[in-house]
């Protein structure tokens, strides 16, 4: 274990940004009263071209927002429900987490609909895993094989 102390005077740049006035509320306390406005001149409003869910803790939609993926399908219904509740409630977050998991399945169905099977192993970086961590690949493959064999034996044993 390294217990060698560093001689700070020799560290490049030591103390150049030391600021005895730095105190906990910085930079909130920066700026003067006129910066503490609650109403400001708003930027031009971006126009929505898809459904954008908005936190109910806001009075208005912000001037600019992301329009990448609209809520869709079952996950979309759940997301809409979540956004009826404030960010302070589990009713907001738990549905969103559930929606994410459902969305994953929707993604796979969607891939098949578009005529392609997702290369899940490649997506999970198994190429790199094989190159750098063969042990973990072997372990996972071993466990998989074991489970498959056990399942096969159990199925065979079942009295008909």
């Amino acid at each position: 274990m390294n217990t060698q102390k560093i001689n700070y005077q020799e560290v490049k740049g030591w103390g150049i940004d030391a600021d005895p006035l730095n105190e906990p509320t910085y930079p909130m306390k920066e700026g003067d009263a006129e910066d503490k406005i609650t109403i400001w001149e708003r930027p031009d409003q971006q126009q929505a071209s898809m459904e954008v869910l908005t936190s109910n803790e806001r009075a208005t939609i912000p001037a600019v927002f992301g329009q990448t993926i609209a809520p869709q399908g079952i996950s979309g219904h759940i997301r809409r429900y979540a956004f009826n509740h404030s960010e302070s409630r589990y009713r907001h977050w738990i549905p969103l987490l559930i929606a994410d998991r459902i969305n994953e399945i929707e993604g796979i169905i969607d891939d098949f609909k578009h005529g392609k099977a997702p290369h899940i192993l490649l997506e999970k970086g198994w190429r790199a895993r094989w190159k750098l961590n063969k042990k973990s690949v072997m372990k996972k493959a071993g466990i998989g094989l074991l489970l498959a064999v056990t399942a096969a034996v159990l199925v065979k044993r079942k009295p008909s």
């Binding site: 560093i6 906990p24 930027p43 031009d44 936190s55 912000p62 750098l132």
Partner: protein
């Protein structure tokens, strides 16, 4: 264009997506030349951030070339090389006016907490990120900064988040000359926090992690003392011993919700999702800091609850400061430090991948394989 496409936890692929278009007069379209993967992206990749929709393109640390500007962007021209801070900020709301660009109120519809962030799920505004060939940059008249002549482009790349975040962590520590600073986490952010703690006059800097290769790196880079918590039974007790039994003046959490090191935290935070990630490092930070000391949190946590010893925070009278970095506020000073050779952030980059290989890059960075510290993605067109 090629862009990464999130398909669910631990699943990333690179696919064709339409090139983004201007949606607002203050937008720009930037052709990405380099994009990092960040520890924050790992929270998304691990499926821990609610409202991360399938199909999202991640990436909030990138540099590139301006391809197109909206009618109200006058400070940038087509062809400019820019570094783009990870915050999307209007520059005129009450928060931006105070330099709190990370909390802009005009850039995130989906949450009232943080402002917009590129490629950081719908919690952070639902914008696509820069792990792609092109990206839409809103409020392009505020965030993007032309890369100064002569600056190495990978130094510029790390000015979009990691260096400012390490610096911010140290700044929030309110470090006074001679203070002992303990940094939890020797990832890119922790490494930068340790390096920057010296700039604020720290007298002693200690880093805690469990990955030997990262500890070795930070020992030389910061430079600092660095210890492996796997070989210490109780990190809090260890720090007390190291500090005349009083605790550190400042503790920095540069780990966030993917922490390991405490079985209960891992089980409830990462496996059962009963809390918003594992708060192991923050727990240690609160208990290791001196009475009256400061805990500075830049590690990212989910939006719900975490198990931390708040009673101890009260009993010890400590100050807790936390935040997403307002990159733009810190840029002028940090550009100066980089130009003068005081800070050399690009040295933490260990891996460069073609954008097409993003799935492998994510896996390697997430599993900490091949001594990876900071990976960069390079689109094929550049």
């Amino acid at each position: 264009m090629q862009a990464i496409n999130y398909r669910g936890p631990f699943r990333i692929r690179v696919e064709d997506k339409p090139i983004p278009e201007i949606q607002h007069p203050r937008d720009a379209i930037v052709q990405v030349t380099r994009a990092c993967i960040c520890g924050s992206d790992l929270h998304l990749y691990h499926g821990m951030v609610p409202d991360t929709r399938v199909g999202t393109t991640f990436g909030h640390e990138f540099i590139g070339i301006v391809q197109e500007v909206g009618t109200e962007v006058h400070n940038l021209g087509v062809g400019d090389s820019v570094l783009v801070p990870f915050n999307i900020a209007c520059g005129q709301c009450v928060f931006c006016k105070q330099g709190l660009f990370a909390y802009c109120h005009e850039s995130n519809a989906m949450s009232s907490t943080v402002g917009g962030v590129f490629g950081y799920s719908h919690i952070a505004g639902g914008f696509d990120g820069g792990q792609a060939e092109y990206v839409r940059v809103p409020y392009a008249d505020i965030g993007p900064t032309v890369i100064p002549d002569g600056m190495n482009e990978e130094d510029a790349l790390l000015l979009t988040d990691v260096l400012p975040t390490g610096y911010y962590a140290a700044e929030m520590g309110g470090i006074k000359k001679g203070d002992t600073v303990v940094v939890f986490g020797a990832g890119p952010v922790g490494i930068m926090a340790a390096r920057c703690a010296w700039l604020f006059g720290a007298g002693r800097v200690i880093v805690i992690d469990h990955l030997e290769y990262r500890l070795d790196f930070v020992r030389k880079y910061a430079p600092c003392e660095a210890y492996n918590f796997k070989s210490i039974e109780d990190p809090v007790l260890f720090i007390k011993r190291q500090t005349d039994w009083l605790g550190a003046d400042v503790c920095i959490d540069a780990v966030g919700s993917d922490a390991c090191g405490n079985m209960m935290q891992t089980l409830t935070g990462k496996k059962l999702l009963l809390q918003a990630g594992a708060a192991t490092a923050l727990h240690w930070a609160i208990n290791s800091v001196k009475k009256g000391g400061i805990v500075s949190i830049v590690g990212v946590y989910g939006p719900t609850d975490n198990l931390i010893p708040i009673g101890n925070a009260v009993n010890k009278g400590i100050t807790i400061r936390a935040g997403q970095t307002s990159v733009k506020r810190l840029l002028p000073r940090l550009i100066e430090h980089v130009q003068q050779g005081i800070l050399s952030p690009r040295e933490i980059i260990t891996h460069r991948f073609a954008l097409e290989d993003a799935a492998d890059a994510y896996h390697i960075f997430s599993s900490k394989l091949d001594d990876c510290i900071k990976p960069v993605l390079v689109p094929s067109a550049v």
